[in-house]
């Protein structure tokens, strides 16, 4: 009995303690419910936002840049599909390994990759590692994708320049918008990594041709794979540009310059259209637009021949004898000189301690204005300079637009120097010495110009004084409206010369070609007017002869100038040519101008015929 009681009590105890276990478990569930309430109800909104952040990604839809055409509709810039390699810094696990892999697979220098990774401020924005992967490279990367988290290949449109390096300077190139640019209003609203124009018309017209980026909101899974599209805002392609440039002539100009450094500018004298804007040596904008490595960039930037410089508007050269057009105008407009004023040229002109020499030993003999221009007599112009003084010459030079921006629709134009007493005091903090005027009178000394400025001035002489603003883009095809919007020609006023001054200039410049220093520009097809120039490479000093022998090192030889317009009686084209370190302008620059003029007038006559018969 007692044993049974003990057993019974023992069982009762077991049951009692069992209830504690039950109570404990049920209390546990209650506790879990409280925690659940906190997570789901109290913090529910917060966690829902976090879950949205997990799944939603915004992908930029990059717009296609506008196309660029020349005046005949030839394609100068378009877009082609390209495999681009992107890197998201946040997803990288092993920087060292990644840098090594990129070097092994793509040949990207390891140190450079690490430097770029270190510079990246916003770690979740993909950065462009390399654009334009070959199919082989893309396959290699895809094959190693699992070992290289953070790398992604994206098919995008890549800027392409079908003409290669032709017109590279004026077209420019594109590149990723820089962090500094993103802070500027002109680039407001652009995403990091957007492509913008870095030079040339790509830069000037960037806002028109870059288009508007779209946005695709997608849902991704934990591995970042796209699962579905939530929302799309379509991108708008950029506007197309129609240049006034004649690509055939551009090509001709560049091949005529060949391996020589130099520049050729050709303008339509009737409206300022830029027909040719050639600068050598040049570069291939395709290379610069495809994500350069620092080594290649360094190589281009440190090239002693400065291929990136657009010599047509950044090269500042002494104008040499082409400046005599300006000095002659100044003389004819002043009451101190006339076309009949005669000077005996003995080959020398003493001034102060110096004796200035004529390029022709022994001199030209007695010269009037016309003869002095035709024969490019230095002594005659030394006398003009001595008589007029620097400030009169400077004023006339500014009438022709020298020392100022031409206003062409290209970035980074230089203005050259039109020296004056005021200029020297301001810049050099020294007074002007009368002797310095003598050098300037033949386009040496402090005076410097760009080839484009000379072309504009020559066109103004040709068209009777209208100083046009060079127009490179004639029209814009607006994508939004499909409308072709013309950009009208603009002039910057006129050169205030008397008619008889123009008449004499026209006569004498024609004479330069028919009976003077520019004989090499004489054409069987068309009457050409022009002026030769030979610019000294070594600073302001008296003229010396004998620097153009083959024995003289190349970099010390003179620059050859030739400015011209044609037809002489009814001008339609003006040309400025400079070939660096080669010798006399009449010998080396004049034939280039002649060839271009002949090509232009031959072709445009054909165009005219088409227009007349209504076929155009």
């Amino acid at each position: 009995m007692s044993k049974f009681t003990t057993q019974h009590e023992d069982f009762k105890n077991l049951q009692r303690r069992l209830l504690y276990l039950r109570l404990g478990l049920l209390l546990g569930l209650l506790l879990l419910s409280v925690r659940l309430w906190y997570l789901q109800v109290v913090k529910g909104t917060y966690y829902r936002a976090l879950s949205e952040q997990n799944r939603i990604r915004t992908v930029d839809l990059k717009p296609a840049r506008g196309l660029i055409f020349d005046r005949h509709g030839e394609l100068l810039a378009n877009n082609v599909p390209s495999f681009n390699l992107y890197l998201t810094v946040e997803d990288i696990r092993d920087r060292e390994g990644l840098a090594t892999a990129l070097e092994d697979l793509l040949g990207l220098p390891r140190a450079e990759t690490k430097k770029r990774l270190a510079l990246q401020a916003r770690s979740y924005v993909p950065i462009l590692v390399k654009a334009g992967l070959t199919l082989r490279e893309a396959a290699l990367i895809e094959g190693h994708r699992l070992d290289l988290p953070g790398l992604r290949i994206q098919a995008e449109s890549q800027r392409n320049y079908p003409q290669g390096s032709l017109g590279g300077h004026l077209l420019g190139y594109v590149g990723e918008v820089s962090p500094e640019q993103l802070d500027e209003p002109a680039f407001a609203g652009l995403a990091q990594g957007s492509m913008v124009g870095k030079a040339g018309v790509e830069k000037t017209y960037d806002r028109m041709i870059r288009g508007t980026a779209g946005e695709k909101i997608i849902e991704v899974d934990a591995r970042g794979n796209e699962r579905k599209t939530v929302e799309v805002v379509e991108q708008t392609p950029g506007d197309d540009l129609h240049l006034s440039l004649d690509m055939r002539m551009q090509q001709m100009a560049e091949s005529l310059l060949g391996e020589e450094a130099g520049a050729v500018v050709a303008l339509d004298t009737t409206n300022g259209d830029v027909l040719v804007l050639a600068s050598r040596p040049t570069f291939d904008p395709n290379t610069l637009s495809r994500g350069l490595t620092a080594a290649v960039w360094e190589q281009i930037a440190s090239d002693p021949r400065h291929p990136l410089t657009n010599r047509t508007l950044q090269g500042q050269y002494p104008p040499g004898s082409t400046f005599k057009i300006v000095v002659a105008s100044a003389a004819l407009e002043s009451d101190k000189w006339s076309s009949d004023t005669k000077v005996r040229c003995t080959g020398t002109f003493p001034s102060g301690n110096h004796v200035f020499k004529d390029w022709k030993k022994g001199g030209h003999g007695v010269m009037d204005m016309d003869q002095a221009i035709v024969n490019s007599c230095d002594v005659y112009f030394y006398n003009i300079g001595h008589r007029l003084g620097i400030d009169t010459i400077a004023e006339t030079a500014r009438w022709f637009g020298l020392g100022q921006l031409t206003g062409i629709d290209l970035p980074s134009e230089r203005i050259g120097i039109v020296p004056s007493t005021e200029w020297k005091q301001r810049v050099r903090k020294e007074p002007w010495y009368a002797g310095e005027t003598i050098s300037v009178a033949i386009g040496q000394g402090y005076v410097s110009v760009t080839p484009l400025q000379m072309a504009v001035a020559t066109a103004a002489v040709a068209n009777g004084g209208i100083l046009y603003k060079p127009r490179l883009v004639r029209a814009v095809r607006e994508r939004a409206s499909s409308r072709l919007r013309e950009i009208p020609p603009q002039d910057r006023g006129s050169v205030p010369l008397q008619d008889r001054t123009f008449a004499l200039l026209h006569e004498s410049l024609h004479g330069v070609v028919t009976r003077g220093t520019g004989g090499r520009a004489r054409s069987k097809i068309v009457e050409i007017a022009g002026k030769t120039g030979t610019a000294q490479t070594v600073g302001a000093r008296p003229v010396q002869t004998g620097t153009n022998h083959e024995a003289v090192p190349k970099q010390f030889r003179d620059h050859a100038w030739f400015v011209a317009y044609a037809p002489a009686d009814a001008p339609r084209i003006a040309v400025a040519v400079i070939v660096e370190n080669i010798g006399h302008g009449g010998t080396f620059a004049a034939p280039i101008a002649k060839a271009l003029i002949e090509e232009y007038l031959k072709v445009s006559e054909t165009d005219d015929r088409h227009q007349n018969t209504g076929q155009f």
Binding site: L14, L19, Y20, L21, R22, R35, R48, S51, N54, E219
Partner: protein, 370 residues
């Protein structure tokens, strides 16, 4: 004589609740992995259904064989179990730094899951047989019984199952009776030993286990790395809100931000889809199961039945608490599946067999008066 073969209402309730939880589990598994498993295998939910089928056989078998008969072989079963646990250390399949599974063709068998049930059986048998008086009988012997299994499981290592083992032992010691004084001594002794033991435990842990424990305190220490599981689970649960996001919109689980959504984190999947209300219903099902199981234990015919039922209750209850707790971030993440819901052959079959044993205990009680 009452025909014990006829199920009464009570049993139907019990079975229905268990089926309900199993069904919820299959739906959750389906929602994270609706397609075929990698390697062209059948989809996970289909495999889980097959496991439930096998589990049903185990369930029926566990009802059929009288638990007294089973208890008679408890020590032999436990010895066999220890041999298997030792074998898995030698021959088992190694994965993620742990050696827990036997690979039988496409099926992975995890002996430590079964070992928990065998431990319950052997402890119930022991406590039912002895006088349960004095230190040695009450604590030392059961402790020594548990220790070999515990050490073998720690060696794998399987922290979660080792904790289950410890909890089963402790809770059965408590249910079988411990004077307040003895309990106090025990607690004091353990806490005095803890600093030394901690050193031992901490250094014996694998790196990933230590990281899990550290990131438990603050998942933001390393949100993309070691804290990722904990953080993503918390986001999934929280994003569910009051009413849940539904099967299609539950992006955390559907898009796999939540790892292991079909196994250890199945609760988070369910919570994201069904929300607070849904989880309350699920908790109600589990609470009912706990209530019914403890009722069975309470009304058991003899101490063996009671202890067996209590052991099973604490085994399943512990897994439930720890799994849900770690998913919600109140426990560190240890690999413990959610009973009856997580995908897994061994755990499903074992849990269902355990439920069968509970009904077994219930159905033998009426023969007391026979």
């Amino acid at each position: 004589m009452i025909d014990t073969r006829t199920p009464d209402n009570f049993e139907w309730r019990f079975v229905l609740v268990a089926m309900g939880i199993l069904a919820v589990g299959v739906i959750s598994i389906y929602s994270v992995a609706p397609g075929p498993a990698p390697g062209g295998q059948a989809p996970l939910y289909a495999k889980q259904l097959a496991w439930i089928l096998i589990g049903t056989l185990a369930f029926l078998a566990a009802i059929a064989i009288d638990y007294h008969k089973l208890a008679r072989h408890a020590y032999i079963l436990y010895a066999l179990m220890l041999i298997v646990l030792a074998l898995v250390l030698v021959m088992g399949k190694s994965s993620r730094g742990a050696q827990r599974w036997f690979s039988l063709g496409p099926i992975a068998f995890q002996p430590s899951e079964v070992a928990k049930l065998v431990l319950v059986l052997v402890l119930a048998k022991y406590f039912a047989d002895v006088q349960r008086s004095g230190w040695v009988q009450r604590v030392i012997v059961p402790g020594l019984l548990t220790l070999p299994g515990l050490l073998l499981i720690l060696k794998q290592p399987d922290l979660g199952t080792a904790m289950s083992f410890t909890f089963i032992c402790v809770s059965m010691v408590l249910v079988s009776g411990l004077h307040a004084k003895a309990l106090g001594m025990g607690v004091l002794f353990t806490s005095m030993l803890f600093p030394f033991a901690w050193e031992l435990i901490w250094t014996s842990l694998h790196d990933y286990q230590r990281e899990r424990i550290l990131t438990f305190w603050d998942p933001m220490i390393d949100p993309a790395g070691k804290g990722y599981h904990a953080l993503q689970a918390r986001i999934a649960i929280g994003a569910g809100g009051l009413l849940g996001k539904g099967l299609d919109e539950a992006t955390q689980s559907r898009l796999k931000f939540l790892p292991e959504g079909h196994t250890d984190f199945v609760f988070a999947v369910f919570a994201e889809q069904w929300g607070f209300i849904g989880v309350l219903v699920l908790f109600l099902l589990f609470a009912t199961l706990i209530f019914l199981a403890s009722e069975i234990a309470f009304k058991a015919r003899d101490p063996l039945g009671l202890l067996l039922a209590a052991g099973i209750l604490s085994m399943l209850g512990f897994c439930l608490m720890v799994n849900v707790g770690m998913t919600m971030g109140i426990f560190p993440i240890v690999g413990i599946p959610l009973p009856l819901m997580s995908y897994g052959g061994t755990t499903t079959v074992t849990s269902m067999a355990a439920l069968g044993l509970l009904l077994n205990v219930k159905r033998r009680r009426l023969t007391l008066f026979y």
